[in-house]
């Protein structure tokens, strides 16, 4: 087994480590799928995986192009509906972790997947919410996974599709929302949020990445601990599972 790993693999493993056994996890497609299946096959066998359109705990044998692909529903325990998954599980308050990707996020973990500025100063409409707003509003905590670039981690985003801590502090709770983002996992670092101000803060920097690289690929200055620790690398078994069983065609891992 080649113990070198890609940043995607590191991100998936970092995501998996956030999930505890027995938890109920609402999953969007891409890296969150790999992270969730990896957790379920290692330390969290009793975790429940939900896809918003009405799928619980599938056992895919091939990767799919998205949630609409029956490959992703294969051998599910339950095939039901939005009202069942997003209503009686998520809105009821039973989802421990929401796992979201994003196009843009800001200092307080607010996510934009709706309108992004283009170089000509116009806005481009992207994909909107789907279940992301519901998950960000109702899950006990959310984990955001995204590539880190200055235009993606911005001081201020143009549209809040899925609320994080809004303008920080206690604003989210005051708006009547439970939960909130707990982690942002990028290809450079893992971030948390300050327990009071709710500002983004570095928790660990990935092996081989410098603190400067982290800072220079963001549109704002994050809180920085001293000393800065390094993200734990993937184990051989985690890499084997990703490469041989979960995403052998490297469809999710890019």
């Amino acid at each position: 087994m080649d113990l070198d790993y890609t940043t995607s693999e590191l991100m998936a493993v970092a995501g998996a480590r956030e999930l505890k056994d027995g938890e109920v996890v609402a999953v969007g497609l891409g890296l969150p799928v790999v992270a969730s299946f990896l957790a379920k096959r290692t330390h969290a066998p009793h975790m429940t995986i939900l896809f918003e359109l009405g799928v619980i705990d599938p056992q895919p044998v091939e990767p799919g192009v998205g949630l609409a692909d029956p490959r992703v529903w294969y051998r599910a325990n339950v095939l039901s509906s939005f009202v069942d998954i997003l209503g009686s599980v998520l809105h009821h308050g039973r989802v421990d972790v929401g796992f979201l990707g994003g196009l843009e996020t800001d200092r307080f973990g607010n996510l934009n997947t709706t309108l992004v500025g283009d170089p000509r100063g116009k806005f481009r409409h992207m994909i909107g919410s789907g279940g992301a707003n519901d998950i960000a509003s109702c899950a006990r905590r959310t984990i955001i996974i995204m590539r880190q670039e200055e235009r993606k981690l911005r001081e201020s985003i143009s549209f809040i599709t899925s609320p994080g801590y809004l303008s920080g502090g206690s604003r989210r709770a005051e708006a009547g929302l439970r939960g909130g983002p707990s982690k942002v996992i990028t290809d450079k670092a893992i971030f948390g949020f300050h327990p009071e101000t709710r500002e983004l803060m570095i928790l660990s920097v990935h092996p081989g990445v410098t603190l400067d690289e982290v800072r220079s690929t963001m549109g704002f200055a994050p809180l920085v601990p001293d000393p800065v620790t390094a993200t734990e690398p993937p184990t051989a078994e985690q890499l084997r599972l990703i490469r041989e069983e979960i995403d052998p065609e490297r469809m999710y891992m890019g």
Binding site: S81, F82, G87, I127, G128, N133, G176
Partner: protein
């Protein structure tokens, strides 16, 4: 009282300006043949709703048939975004009301159950809500829980004129089964004034009666049943056929510019008289045979 009609007859029952709830989710169980016939018949000014915007809605928007889209965002999964919807929003020609998946599902559920409104925790604090509140005659309001005094967001019910649902199996009365997840389809049918069922197979009522727990759409909601194999092409129908990746990629290419889209519409919609001719056009039986679902895997 025969409900079994041709696609053209079912589509002809829809006046311009109607509100349609469409059954597609991204690239699966989309009402594609239906959308093509709507365009062919020149029906316009539609309101279209669905939880997650899909290829059926995008094609109708691209052809200029849709005035208003009520949806929760959407895409063609990895194949791309809803280019026609996005261009309509960016250019201002499409009046889009954007929610989340659950908020649309709850609006359908309220319509289904005859409720005056539906409380929800989603949308709060987001720019989705801000945009919805800025609309005149907003479909969102705030309400106080009479038991705790807590404030809640309330959504107005959705009551489409017609739900159009692509299913695997139906009898002639429209008692229909949906295999796989059902996303918002059961609530769409119940919220709508009536339903048009587009079905891959028509079975005798006796077959439905042997496994009536599977009947997601009771016939009493259904006005028309259209038997139409490959009615969702190029989208998939679970357990019947897979999505046609090449054809979806061609759609994605064609929707990059309005000009390319016009050529695509001429070729696949206006230039073919009906669904059978469309299927011949895209490759006929040779191509369709390759899409047939594996009975074990279901795709």
């Amino acid at each position: 009282m025969g409900k079994l009609v041709t696609l053209a007859e079912a589509v002809a029952s829809i006046p311009s300006g109607s509100h349609l709830a469409l059954s597609g989710f991204a690239i699966t169980r989309c009402t594609m043949a239906f959308a093509r016939e709507v365009i062919r018949q020149g029906i316009r000014g539609l309101t279209v709703s669905q939880c997650v915007g899909a290829m059926d809605a995008d094609l109708l928007v691209g052809a200029g048939a849709v005035e208003r889209l009520i949806y929760g965002g959407g895409s063609l999964d990895r194949f791309g975004r809803l280019a026609c919807v996005n261009r309509g929003i960016e250019g201002g020609s499409l009046h889009a009301e954007e929610y989340s998946s659950l908020s649309i599902a709850f609006r359908y559920l309220a319509g289904a159950l005859g409720l005056p409104f539906m409380p929800i925790r989603s949308l709060v604090g987001s720019d989705l809500l801000r945009q919805l509140q800025e609309r005149s005659g907003a479909d969102v309001a705030s309400i106080k829980d009479p038991f705790t005094g807590e404030s809640w967001l309330a959504l107005r019910p959705l009551s489409p004129d017609v739900a159009v649902v692509q299913v695997q199996v139906s009898d002639e009365d429209g008692n229909a089964w949906i295999r796989g997840p059902r996303w918002d389809n059961a609530e769409q049918v119940r919220a709508s004034q009536r339903t048009i069922v587009i079905t891959e197979r028509v079975v005798p009522g006796d077959v439905i009666r042997q496994d009536a727990e599977q009947t997601v759409i009771p016939g009493l909601f259904v006005s028309h049943v259209v038997k139409l194999p490959f009615g969702a092409h190029p989208a998939s129908v679970y357990r019947v056929y897979d999505y046609d990746a090449a054809e979806i990629k061609r759609y994605v290419e064609a929707t990059r510019t309005p000009e390319a889209l016009q050529a695509y519409l001429v070729e696949t919609v206006h230039g073919v008289p009906d669904h059978a001719a469309y299927l011949e056009k895209i490759g006929g039986q040779a191509r369709l045979s390759e899409l047939m679902a594996d009975p074990g895997l279901g795709y």
